[in-house]
């Protein structure tokens, strides 16, 4: 009988295949022997795990190889097994001793306040299970055949990388998170993945359909469900190819409206392989990532901004001034120990409190603006005085550059609409353009932290209350002929595109990887009425 399970979408696409269950390493606990024998069993198990990883690394490159090279380096270090060998000396079997020592090591990582170190717990679990499977002489896992749908509690990065995904396949996890390492790897290899399916995954057997767009998993599908899934899989693969072939063409709806598609950029590397003709410019430069190690280095900042302006070849480049603080701290710059950093000194508030740092950035932007069309975008603006103070500092930067005899242009100045109060009173801001930051607007409007929203997966749609705020500011911009665009993650959410177009948003700024599909979706859109669209 057909069974339908709903989880969280973690990697898009449709997979159709047979289920293979990965059981957690359990095996039969060792009876234990003399400490010398147990010690040498442990050493052999570590050696065997290392050999497995080495043969895998040989087939990988880049980030994938680096994740495993770290695991190999840890296994090569005698320090790792020191505690376990001590427990063995006290008479414990090798597997129990290893488990106990690795759990202690993992507890040390979990205790770290740094997210990067906490994130390595899963790598240690991976190392622990690899060695354990050799100690308990169970095979590490069932052999996986290409195209199968892997069902497991969670999936370690090394397990994912060990599998053969060249003929497709899918992943259905009882637990897991769309933000995990393995979800990132699955998206990079276009392997559909659904997480958080709960206990119901235990019952999955035989032929199964997995939809990584909606988070739906169908066990033993009836003929009709199977045919539908096959058609959808075909549409997706053809659609993706067509979209990429037509990426360079402008985004025009079926009823002839031309929309602007711009890029969100955090580093110059992201432009690799892209041509300026693929887009209408850069809609958001996250300078807190681009120049975070050069806050006081005007020349380094100028070089970075100038590279963007030159790349865009006459298209507009929007540079957002530092949006540090909140979930993007810059050590030594953003305040430490604030009770609630998301509601505290961040974005423009922080920049205005540090005019020494802000002026360096403004001078670098003004100089880059002399090379091509550039706009300044101010983040987290709440009060008109903040815009006024920023303008005064722009004028001071211009005077300083004039005195130094350097070329500059004072560019248009706009603000992010991401504070609900600002969205509801756009008329108080004397600015040249608005850019809606849907991520922060949603989190402030819904009193939900950004990472909690992330857990809702890719299918997450904006709250109707957030949409009402966006509509308010959009109508004001249209009535007053002020340029307006959308630059949050929602801009790349194709399910919401009709809503945004109907609202009158005519400019979308998205991650480079979203451009082809967004343009394809726009080409398929026809407005139900004849409302005009703000360019």
């Amino acid at each position: 009988m057909e069974r339908r399970l709903i989880g969280k979408a973690a990697s898009p696409g449709i997979a159709i295949g047979r289920v293979v269950s990965l059981r957690p390493v359990s095996g039969v606990p060792r009876a234990g022997a003399a400490p010398d024998l147990e010690r040498s069993a442990l050493r052999q198990a570590i050696e065997a795990t290392k050999q497995n990883l080495r043969s895998m690394v040989a087939r990988l490159a880049g980030d994938e190889a680096a994740i495993l090279e770290f695991q190999i380096a840890m296994l090569e270090d005698p320090e790792l097994a020191l505690e376990a060998e001590q427990f063995v000396g006290e008479g414990q079997p090798a597997d129990a001793a290893w488990l106990r020592s690795m759990d202690m090591e993992m507890a040390r990582y979990r205790a770290s306040y740094d997210v990067h170190f906490r994130g390595r717990v899963s790598d240690l679990a991976d190392i622990r299970d690899g060695v354990l499977s050799h100690l308990r002489s169970t095979p590490e896992h069932d052999p996986i055949e290409p195209g199968q749908i892997v069902v497991a509690e969670d999936l370690a990065p090394s397990h994912f990388l060990r599998m053969d995904w060249t003929s497709g396949g899918g992943i259905a996890l009882r637990a897991g998170s769309p933000a995990s390492h393995v979800a990132m790897l699955a998206r990079a290899r276009s392997i559909p993945m659904v997480v958080g399916l709960g206990e119901a995954v235990e019952g999955l057997t035989g032929l199964t359909v997995l939809d990584g767009e909606t988070g739906m998993v169908i066990g033993s599908p009836v003929e009709e469900s199977l045919t539908q899934a096959q058609a959808q899989a075909l549409r997706l693969s053809v659609g993706r190819r067509e979209a990429e072939q037509r990426m360079r063409e402008p985004a025009v709806t079926r009823d002839g409206k031309r929309l602007s598609i711009l890029l969100n950029i955090s580093s110059l590397r992201e432009l690799t392989g892209l041509m300026p003709e693929d887009c209408d410019g850069i809609g958001l430069t996250r300078t807190e990532f681009l120049i975070e190690s050069a806050l006081l280095d005007e020349e380094a900042q100028f070089r970075a901004y100038a590279a963007l302006v030159r790349w865009a070849a006459g298209r507009v480049v929007t540079i957002r001034t530092l949006d540090a603080g909140g979930d993007k701290p810059i050590p030594g710059y953003s305040p430490e120990g604030e009770a609630n950093s998301f509601l505290g000194l961040r974005g423009i508030r922080l920049s205005l409190s540090r005019p020494d740092v802000f002026l360096v950035q403004l001078r670098a932007i003004l100089r880059a603006a002399a090379l091509g069309p550039t706009r300044i975008l101010l983040p987290m603006v709440t009060l008109p005085e903040e815009v006024g103070e920023a303008r005064s500092l722009v004028n001071i930067a211009a005077e300083q550059l004039a005195r130094a005899g350097l070329a500059f242009v004072v560019p248009p100045i706009g603000i992010m609409i991401e504070v609900p109060a600002a969205a509801m009173a756009p008329e108080i801001f004397p600015v040249d353009f608005f850019s809606i930051g849907s991520n922060d607007l949603e989190q402030y409007a819904c009193a939900s932290a950004r990472d909690a929203l992330q857990l809702a997966g890719h299918a997450h749609n904006l709250h109707p209350g957030t949409l009402a705020m966006m509509a308010h500011v959009t109508h004001f911009a249209r009535a007053n002929k002020i340029d307006l665009g959308l630059c949050g993650d929602a801009a790349g959410n194709l399910a919401m595109l009709p809503t945004f177009l109907e609202m009158g948003i005519g400019s979308f700024s998205v991650a480079p990887g979203c451009v082809a599909e967004l343009k394809a979706a726009i080409r398929n859109h026809r407005a139900s009425d004849g409302t005009s669209i703000v360019a």
């Binding site: 680096a66 994740i67 090279e69 770290f70 380096a73 840890m74 270090d77 320090e79 790792l80 090591e105 040390r108 990582y109 770290s112 740094d114 990067h116 170190f117 390595r120 790598d123 975070e292 190690s293 050590p331 030594g332």
Partner: protein
């Protein structure tokens, strides 16, 4: 026995994290000198050839990494480690 010391600020994005730790131990192992690192001059000092121990320091961006080495090639060992830190572990 020759001894050398130096210090450098961790300026790479993630600090002494998985990949930087591996790179640091790979460089340290090229030298015969005993090499130790610490985030405070008062210690505790950690063997720079052990990735397991280095990861336990959990040194983050902005901390100062102190390096000392003992042995015939102590001076070049310290220079190589400091150079790696100052190159941001070749990550950025």
């Amino acid at each position: 026995m020759p001894e050398a010391r130096a210090s450098a600020e961790l300026t790479n994005r993630v600090g002494l994290h998985a990949r930087p730790s591996v790179k640091l131990t790979q460089i340290a192992k090229r030298f015969s000198a005993r090499i130790e690192i610490a985030t405070s001059l008062d210690g505790p000092w950690t063997d720079a050839k052990s990735p397991v121990k280095i990861m336990r320091i959990k040194a983050v961006r902005g901390e100062i990494l102190h390096v000392k080495a003992f042995g015939a090639d102590a001076a070049s060992a310290v220079a190589a480690v400091v150079d790696l830190v100052q190159r941001n572990f070749d990550e950025e």
